[in-house]
Amino acid sequence: MTETLTGAQITVRLLERQGVRIITGYPGGAILPIYDALGQSTVIHHVLARHEQGAGFIAQGMARATGEVGVCMASSGPGATNLLTAIADAKLDSIPLVAITGQVPKSMIGTDAFQEVDTYGLSLPITKHNFLVSSTEELLEIIPRAFQIAASGRPGPVLIDIPKDVQARAIEVSAWPQPGSRVLPPPADAWAIAEAASMINAAQRPLLYLGGGVVHSGAANFAVDLAEKANLPTMMTLMALGTMPVDHALSLGMLGMHGAPCCNLALDECDLLIAVGARFDDRATGKVAAFCPNAKIIHIDIDPAELDKIKAAHVGITADVLEALTQLLPLVSENARKNWVDRTNELKRDFPQQLPGIEQPTSHFGLIRSVADCLDDEAVIATDVGQHQMWVAQAYPLRRPRQWLTSGGLGTMGFGVPAAIGAALAEPQRTVVCFTGDGSILMNIQELVTAAEEDVNIKIVLMNNAVLGLVHQQQTLFYGERLFASKFKGMPDFVQAALALGISAVDLDQAADPQAALRDAIQRPGPCLIHVSIDAEQKVYPMVPPGAANRDMIGA
């Protein structure tokens, strides 16, 4: 049946057909035709953020918690520029996202029209792909393709910029395209897989190095199976936390700048590094020349450009991690590898991640432990960026892929609260905890209003040390203790601010029994801010100084 529909109606229909049920965004002049059509949709719930960056991170929270493509919308000009940080963040962490922006009418593009900005040009280096739609007809091809691109291969953000006249014009539609979905890459090269298996079988001191790609491909169980079958001591990047339960016998924890000392030391001894869905990020490797200097490298990644980018691989395999591991597992022989496992256990015993004060419930580590004690593995743990983020990465018992939502590559303060809202919207059955700091929360505090409006089940644990912690730490350690612009003189009353923005709040500083107050706040449904003062002098240790080798840790 042929229907006459506007570009805006076509866009909304395509999103519905795509299976999208939640869209987050912020309207404005150049996207009003789409908002008008969206208002008529009976299946899509629109979540009104209070800043476009918030919308971008809410969409990311949905995508990170579920693995499905998240969708956000904004108007032209400042609406689009405000989205950019969330898009760049999605690019660096390979998060599937479709961002739709309104644009001034085609006839006005290039005239410096009101709220005109070159969204296509601005988004070019921070998207996986981007489109400037030049006709209404093209929407039928571009929108499904955007979802396919976002979800296929290495996931990433795709931006669709739609001029207002393209949204408003009506055309006849007689057939609908198939929704865009993930296209699997070709299978891993069998010869390379066999070569990798024989290297693993021959290795004396192999280490398994898991990255975020293991989460994206849904391969966590296979990675753990591989580790167990061949007795491979395993370390995870920040992005991979949760892929192997932290208390698994073979887990060495997180590697890198703030990683577990045993992990960074084991790297020096290994003779084979098996990198799976990891990209040798500088925060993980430290000084590259000194990173596992005696090891051969097997590198499995879906993105061929990651192979040999930082470290040359002896065997490089371009493939979906899950598919490659499925091929690899039967070829790897069972091996007790007793000497090496004993040695890594010795390193774990002698050089563990130190968690000082974990028994005191209001210390930074103790607070994280107390929160974990109130929850099971079904909870989602989001963080903002800073000291609190690293402490949670070090101390929270993460045991499930997609349990952990954090801004790894871009390291965006302001990520936590909206990402937690997104996770709670996508998975309302879960409790979502957002650990944040007094710096980070102010970067998107307006989204507390969104949290209140949507009544999402999020618990924001605000670790307040009244300083910009990681800056304070670096100035203390590396800039002669010249503390500048890192101590907050003005400090809002966060409990009153949360109440004023419409969510409940509790101050553990004032609680007679902080642990009981914490448990009560976490168990009560709905959004709540939990405020705790912590000591500004606490550092994130160990710390590999920027540019140094991982073995040269301060505070290990």
């Binding site: 070019l124 400037l132 691109i149 061929p304 450009a305």
Partner: protein, 103 residues
């Protein structure tokens, strides 16, 4: 384009890249953006549509340095790039153009 980097001045050899792309207004930006944001100078560019105009072919003359293999991989990843072929600098496509570039 960018000033040449030290890295590139040290390079002796040049390479010619032949890139088949979908022909639309953004494709050139996508490709040269990969080079410019890595401060990798592009010495020469030629581009014309091929066939019915749905595709174009872009020829790039670039200095060879250690990053070129990574650059080619990045170009190959672009959605609108069909194929990338690498030639030696003596490829004839840029050879007869000198008449147009006399000072």
């Amino acid at each position: 384009m960018n000033a040449t980097t030290q890295n590139e001045q040290a390079a002796l050899a040049r390479a010619v890249l032949e890139i088949d792309v979908n022909n639309h207004p953004g494709v050139m930006s996508h490709i040269v953006g990969l080079f410019s944001r890595r401060a990798y100078n592009v010495e020469g560019i030629l581009c014309l549509p091929v066939g019915n105009g749905a595709q174009s072919r872009i020829w790039l003359l670039v200095n060879e340095d250690a990053r070129l293999a990574q650059m080619i991989k990045q170009v190959e990843k672009l959605e609108d790039v069909q194929s990338v072929r690498r030639h030696h600098a003596d490829h004839e496509v840029f050879c007869n153009l000198e008449d147009f570039f006399r000072a």
